[in-house]
C-alpha cells in the first residue's frame, strides 16, 4: 500500500498517469466506509484537553431568535393544517344520505327476491315430501303384510310341531311307566357291535358279550345288592 501510494505520488509529481508510466498499477485506492470516527473510540488524543469555547449570544438576540423560531413553527403548522384541510375538503365525498337510501332500496329488493325464492322452494319441497310420504306408507304397508304372513307361517309350523309331539308323547317315558321301560331295556339289550358291508348286510358281533361282564353290570345296576 505504501509502495503504491509512493508510486502514485511520484507519477503524479512527474505529471504522468499510472498506466502510461509503464509501471504496474500505481493507483492508490482507499475505501471510506464511514465518514466519521465511531463514537466508541472516544476522544482523540490530540483533542482530549481541548475546551471548546461556548458561543456567546447576547440576551436580546436569544430572546428574538426564540420568538422568531416559535412564530415560524406555529405559522408553518397553521399553513400546513390549512392546506391539509383544503385538500381533504376538495376530495370527492360520499353522500351518506343518498348512500343510505340506496342501501335501503337494495335491501327491500333483496328481501322481495328472497321471499319469491322461498315460496318456489317451499312449493317444490312440499311436493317432494308428499311423494316421499306416499312411498314410505306403501313400504310400511308391504312390510306389515310380509310380517303377518311370516307370523302365520310360523304359527302353522308351531301347530304342526305340537301335533307331532302330541302324537309322539304316547311313547314318552314318564314316572308311571319308567319301571316298565327299565325292565324292557334290561330284558332286551341292544348290541351295536356290528358292521356293514357294501351290500348292506349286517354282520353281528363275532363274540357275545362275556357273561362275567354282563353279570357285573347287572349287579352294579341293581341298587342295594
Amino acid at each position: 500500500m505504501l509502495r503504491n501510494t509512493l508510486l502514485a505520488g511520484s507519477s503524479a509529481a512527474n505529471g504522468s498517469f499510472g498506466i502510461l508510466s509503464g509501471l504496474p498499477n500505481t493507483v492508490c485506492v482507499q475505501c471510506v466506509r464511514w465518514k466519521r470516527k465511531p463514537l466508541w473510540l472516544g476522544t482523540a488524543k490530540s483533542k482530549l484537553f481541548r475546551i471548546p469555547e461556548r458561543p456567546k449570544i447576547p440576551k436580546d438576540e436569544t430572546i428574538e431568535l426564540l420568538r422568531l423560531h416559535n412564530n415560524y413553527r406555529t405559522l408553518v403548522r397553521s399553513i400546513r393544517h390549512h392546506i391539509t384541510e383544503a385538500v381533504i375538503g376538495s376530495q370527492a365525498r360520499v353522500d351518506t344520505e343518498l348512500r343510505a337510501k340506496q342501501e335501503e332500496e337494495d335491501f327491500v329488493r333483496c328481501v322481495a327476491l328472497n321471499n319469491e325464492w322461498n315460496e318456489s322452494k317451499a312449493k317444490a319441497r312440499d311436493e317432494r315430501l308428499a311423494k316421499a310420504r306416499e312411498v314410505r306408507r306403501e313400504e310400511i304397508l308391504r312390510k306389515i303384510i310380509a310380517q303377518e304372513q311370516l307370523a302365520a307361517k310360523q304359527l302353522e309350523n308351531i301347530e304342526k310341531t305340537v301335533k307331532r309331539v302330541k302324537e309322539e308323547a304316547i311313547t314318552f317315558i314318564t314316572e308311571k311307566n319308567i319301571d316298565q321301560a327299565i325292565e324292557d331295556a334290561l330284558n332286551n339289550p341292544v348290541d351295536h357291535n356290528w358292521a356293514l358291508d357294501l351290500e348292506g348286510t349286517i354282520h353281528r358281533g363275532k363274540y357275545v358279550q362275556p357273561q362275567a361282564n354282563e353279570g357285573q353290570r347287572q349287579k352294579r345296576m341293581q341298587p342295594g345288592v
Binding site: 406555529t74 405559522l75 397553521s78
Partner: protein, 188 residues
C-alpha cells in the same frame, strides 16, 4: 489565593440535592431549596422538602426527595418526587430568615390571550383569491389564516374567544420585536 477554574464551563451554580439535604438536620424537611436555573424568571420558583430517602450507592450523586414545588409563583397541587434530576449541582438552600422574602410572589403571572387568526402569506393569499375568483366564490371579508396553537394543560396562555381582544398577536412578517437593535441596519 484566588480560585482558578479549568475545563468546560457550566450554567449550573450550586450543589447537588444530596449535598444539601445530607448535611441538614432531619434531611432538611421543611426547608426551601431553589434551582438557580429557574431564577431567570421574574416569579419565584422553589421547592419545599417534604420527605427524603437515600438511595443505594449505585447512583452516588442521587437522592430521592419528595417536594412541594412552586414554579413561577404557582404551587403544584400534588407533591413531586425529585430523583432523576437530583444529581444536578444547581440547587441552592435558602436561609431560614430569607425564606419569606424569597417565596413572596409580588406579581403573579398573567394569562396571555393568543390571537385566533393572522394574515396569510402574501403570495399564498393572492393564490387563494384567484382560486376563489375562478370558482366564482364571493369574497365578502378579508381572508385570515387560523392559527394552530399547541395545547397544553399547564400553559399560561389560551386562545382568544370569539370577539375577544388578544394580548399576543401574530404576524406573518417579522412582527413587533423587543430588540430593535438587531434590525437597525436592515435596509427596507
Amino acid at each position: 489565593m484566588p480560585i482558578k477554574y479549568i475545563g468546560r464551563t457550566t450554567d449550573f451554580k450550586g450543589k447537588s440535592l444530596w449535598e444539601i439535604v445530607g448535611n441538614l438536620k432531619n434531611g432538611g424537611i421543611g426547608r426551601i431549596v431553589a434551582r438557580q436555573m429557574f431564577e431567570r424568571y421574574p416569579e419565584p420558583s422553589f421547592i419545599k422538602i417534604l420527605k427524603v430517602e437515600a438511595l443505594p450507592y449505585e447512583e452516588p450523586r442521587k437522592v430521592s426527595v419528595l417536594v412541594e414545588r412552586t414554579f413561577r409563583g404557582v404551587k403544584f397541587d400534588r407533591p413531586v418526587l425529585i430523583r432523576a434530576a437530583s444529581y444536578k449541582s444547581d440547587y441552592q438552600l435558602i436561609p431560614k430568615d430569607q425564606e419569606a422574602a424569597y417565596c413572596k410572589v409580588e406579581k403573579p403571572r398573567t394569562m396571555s390571550i393568543l390571537a385566533r387568526t393572522c394574515d396569510y402569506p402574501p403570495l399564498y393569499k393572492e393564490m387563494l383569491i384567484r382560486k376563489m375568483k375562478a370558482k366564482g366564490t364571493p369574497i365578502t371579508e378579508e381572508l385570515k389564516l387560523e392559527i394552530q396553537h399547541t395545547t397544553s394543560t399547564n400553559k399560561f396562555a389560551r386562545v382568544a374567544e370569539e370577539g375577544e381582544t388578544p394580548t399576543v398577536n401574530m404576524t406573518i412578517d417579522i412582527g413587533p420585536t423587543c430588540s430593535p437593535r438587531l434590525y437597525e441596519n436592515v435596509k427596507q
